[in-house]
């Protein structure tokens, strides 16, 4: 319990030291506060290189855009899945459109080929 009390008092003294004060403490804690002052002076802030900072910022911007795009797709999907009837009708219609389109394309290709040769299919 004594250690805990000392730890609390030391914590307050360190907080004062970090705030720029020179806290007055009892002699028992004084060497520890002196050590804290030395450490504070030695562990100076480490400035980040400008190139690294701008490179990381650019990467974060790219990541944000990707996340925004993914969120938009996710929103659309979630909205559509909330109405399964509408999704089924959309599926049926799009399948029909694709089927009609493919049939039309096949007929058009066949017609063009016959027109180019001038020979009806039955006489080849």
């Amino acid at each position: 319990m004594t250690t805990r009390t000392r730890a609390d008092r030391l914590d307050e003294a360190v907080a004062g030291l970090l705030a720029g004060d020179r806290p007055s403490v009892d002699p028992e804690l004084a060497p520890l506060v002196d050590a804290a002052a030395l450490i504070r002076a030695a562990l100076s802030p480490m400035p980040v290189g400008a190139r690294f900072s701008s490179r990381l910022e650019a990467r974060l911007v790219r990541r944000r855009r990707l996340a925004a795009a993914a969120a938009a797709i996710s929103d659309v999907t979630r909205r559509e899945l909330r109405q399964p009837g509408r999704l089924a009708i959309a599926g049926v219609i799009s399948s029909a459109v694709i089927g009609v389109g493919l049939t039309a394309l096949a007929l058009w290709i066949g017609t063009r080929r016959h027109a180019a040769t001038g020979v009806p299919p039955a006489h080849r």
């Binding site: 805990r4 804290a36 480490m46 980040v48």
Partner: protein
């Protein structure tokens, strides 16, 4: 290697670490803004870049490794930002917990690599400074950094989080998954070790 197990006499984080911050977290408005619009994350990035980098540098002792860990930390924070809620940990503690885990992974992955002593990576002082004073200052700096580097892992973490990043004991407890009281005890033990070593 980072050891997250509680040390002797140090209790794991309890309910005290999970109290809401009662809106006292100064970063909370910026966090809410960034959750609504990710572009607002820039504010938090600029506010904490130096401190996260400093924490990584003093842990890893290498500028390139520190940059890598810093980048991973901010990428992970951006990804996880929507999940951040005010459940007791400040944003600062949450961010440094990500940094702590990222750095722990970096340290694990390079255990076989040789690491340059920390004091060799500190930038030299101004060339027109007093040479005798420089030598004495460099020697003191080397002693302090070596003493910090030789601390047991959990005590070193507490010293760095407190003196480099200015976290409170409560926040340090949240980063290291300990109680506030346990973080104070760790700081006391770390400073006692350092006072013994630096005083001798």
């Amino acid at each position: 290697m980072t050891d997250l197990r509680p040390a002797d006499g140090v209790q794991p984080a309890g309910a005290e670490a999970r109290r809401p911050t009662d809106g006292t977290d100064p970063d909370y408005p910026a966090v809410r803004a960034a959750q609504a619009d990710r572009a607002a994350f820039d504010v938090l990035y600029r506010r904490y870049l130096d401190r996260v980098y400093g924490y990584a540098f003093y842990q890893l002792g290498d500028h390139h490794d520190a940059e890598d860990a810093t980048e991973r930390t901010f990428m992970a924070a951006l990804r996880a930002l929507p999940t951040f809620t005010d459940t007791g940990a400040s944003f600062r503690a949450w961010l440094f917990r990500i940094a702590h885990n990222t750095i722990a992974n970096a340290r694990r992955s390079r255990t076989r690599r040789s690491v340059v002593p920390l004091h060799q990576n500190i930038d030299p002082p101004a060339p027109n400074a007093d040479p005798a004073g420089l030598v004495a200052r460099a020697e003191e700096l080397r002693r302090v950094l070596d003493a910090v580097a030789d601390l047991p892992d959990d005590r070193r973490q507490v010293v760095l989080l407190r003196f480099v990043d200015g976290l409170t004991s409560r926040e340090i407890g949240q980063v290291l998954d300990r109680s506030e009281g346990a973080a104070r005890v760790l700081l006391h033990r770390a400073l006692r070790d350092l006072a013994t070593r630096l005083g001798g």
